[in-house]
């Protein structure tokens, strides 16, 4: 009888403890910003699309001609690769990162050419307006250190 009662009590304690962990575990990270790898936050796809431009790049020739380019054309892709989004090394987190996104064009640009961008960059807070007059003249960006956020 005692064993049965102890079993019931331990089962109830285990149930309440695990239930509290499952139900409230995400709260420290998602409400208070106190992130821990041991308390899983449910923020699926929160990082997908972050750092991807939406807008128009324009390649200005020395003679004044302007050639509009889409973001995929500038990145040299027809579609973004079907890889984990955080493995795409051209994502734009700061304005100067757009030089990394447009690296292919800047590497091929001839004397007198200028690449500009007018549009938005994806961020956690929505579309962030960005306008850069001469991308290739920006200082070189540092490599991205972004981790697996928003998985």
């Amino acid at each position: 009888m005692l064993v049965v009662r102890l079993g019931a009590i331990s089962r109830r304690i285990a149930f309440l403890a695990v239930a509290a962990l499952l139900l409230l575990g995400p709260a420290p990270g998602q409400i208070f910003g106190a992130h821990s790898p041991f308390l899983r936050e449910w923020i699926m796809f929160a990082g997908v699309g972050i750092g991807i431009p939406k807008g128009v790049f324009t390649l200005h020739a020395a003679n004044g001609a302007a050639l509009p380019l889409t973001p995929p054309e500038v990145a040299g892709v027809t579609s973004y690769p079907q890889i984990r989004h955080y493995l795409f090394d051209k994502r734009v987190f700061e304005d100067i990162d757009i030089k990394r996104f447009a690296g292919r064009i800047c590497d091929q640009a001839v004397e007198g050419e200028r690449l500009s961008f007018d549009g938005f960059i994806g961020s956690r807070l929505g579309w962030r307006p960005v306008s850069v007059d001469d991308i290739c003249a920006l200082p070189d960006p540092v490599p991205s250190a972004d981790g697996e956020s928003g998985t």
Binding site: L22, P26, M44, R84, G147
Partner: protein, 279 residues
């Protein structure tokens, strides 16, 4: 009021008893999903050291035991620990791509919770062995951990809805960003032409997720919640690269059903009560 609520809560949660068939079906389903998810990454052909060979062999040994139901609870526990080990050590600490994802965590925690159920009392080698000894063990047991799986699903819906409750998501901007990454240069790029549709879809997803967090736990609402939830996960599966997340969540919906009703349903479709269906 507490005196009236407590017995109901205990009967629903920690003292809940029922048929073990849903837990067994989840054990089999989750094991198959884990095979599909990690088959290519943990298999021996990918190993770069004897240690990885040993870990791979051990992982697949316990996973196979979980699938066939041999020492079911131990096998489920070891599989769950191995997956969470990959999640915490491989994913979070060593940054192996994809291992720190929510769908991996869900597979790990589901396996661990299944280990706390009598998931080997049905559809298992464990049961077959007991029957071989002349015993017919009951397909019943304490299912408190099955309730915890239901709470895990509820928490998942609630917290993901919390994460989406901001202007960036509700206005459709975040969904547009996700679609720009996923659909650019592909046929479904046409979605990007309708920002109002994206805002409507975003708001709908958030409302449905808040509702599901409660509705899957309320018996009266469950008959509506289950098709809506399955539809939501099927939509995610078809429109986004969600890996095993959708199929895992749908498999865990077995934890939301009345286990005895599942038991009776299986008896009925197998014609157990009809003599003509017996060999």
């Amino acid at each position: 009021m507490i005196a009236a609520f407590l017995p109901k809560f205990l009967a629903w949660g920690p003292d809940f008893v029922g048929s073990t068939r849903p837990a067994a079906l989840m054990r089999i389903g989750i094991a198959l999903i884990v095979f599909a998810r990690f088959g290519a990454e943990v298999s021996l052909f990918n190993a770069t050291s004897p240690l990885e060979i040993a870990l791979g062999v051990t992982f697949f040994m316990f996973l196979t035991m979980m699938l066939v139901g041999y020492m079911s609870r131990l096998a489920s526990a070891m599989t769950g620990l191995a997956i969470l080990g990959m999640y915490f050590i491989g994913g979070a600490a060593m940054a192996v791509p994809g291992w720190a994802h929510h769908h991996v965590y869900l597979l790990g925690i589901a396996s661990l919770l299944l280990a706390m159920t009598p998931c080997g009392a049905s559809y298992s080698v464990d049961r077959l062995r007991e029957l071989g000894h002349g015993e017919a063990p009951p397909e019943r047991g304490f299912l408190w951990a099955q309730r915890l799986i239901a709470l895990q699903l509820s928490a998942l819906y609630f917290w993901t809805a919390i994460d989406k409750t901001d202007w960036a998501f509700l206005s459709g901007q975040r969904l547009e960003q996700i679609f720009v990454w996923t659909y650019t240069g592909r046929t479904l790029e046409l979605f990007l032409a309708w920002p109002m549709l994206l805002a409507l879809l975003s708001s709908t997803v958030v409302i449905v997720e808040y509702w599901l967090a409660v509705a899957i736990l309320v018996p009266r609402w469950r008959r509506f919640a289950l098709p809506v939830g399955i539809g939501l996960h099927a939509t995610f599966y078809l429109l986004l690269p969600v890996d095993t997340y959708s199929i895992t969540a749908i498999t865990l919906y077995l934890a939301l059903l009345d286990p005895d009703a599942v038991h009776r349903f299986i008896d009925r479709i197998q014609g157990h009560d009809v003599a003509a269906h017996r060999l």
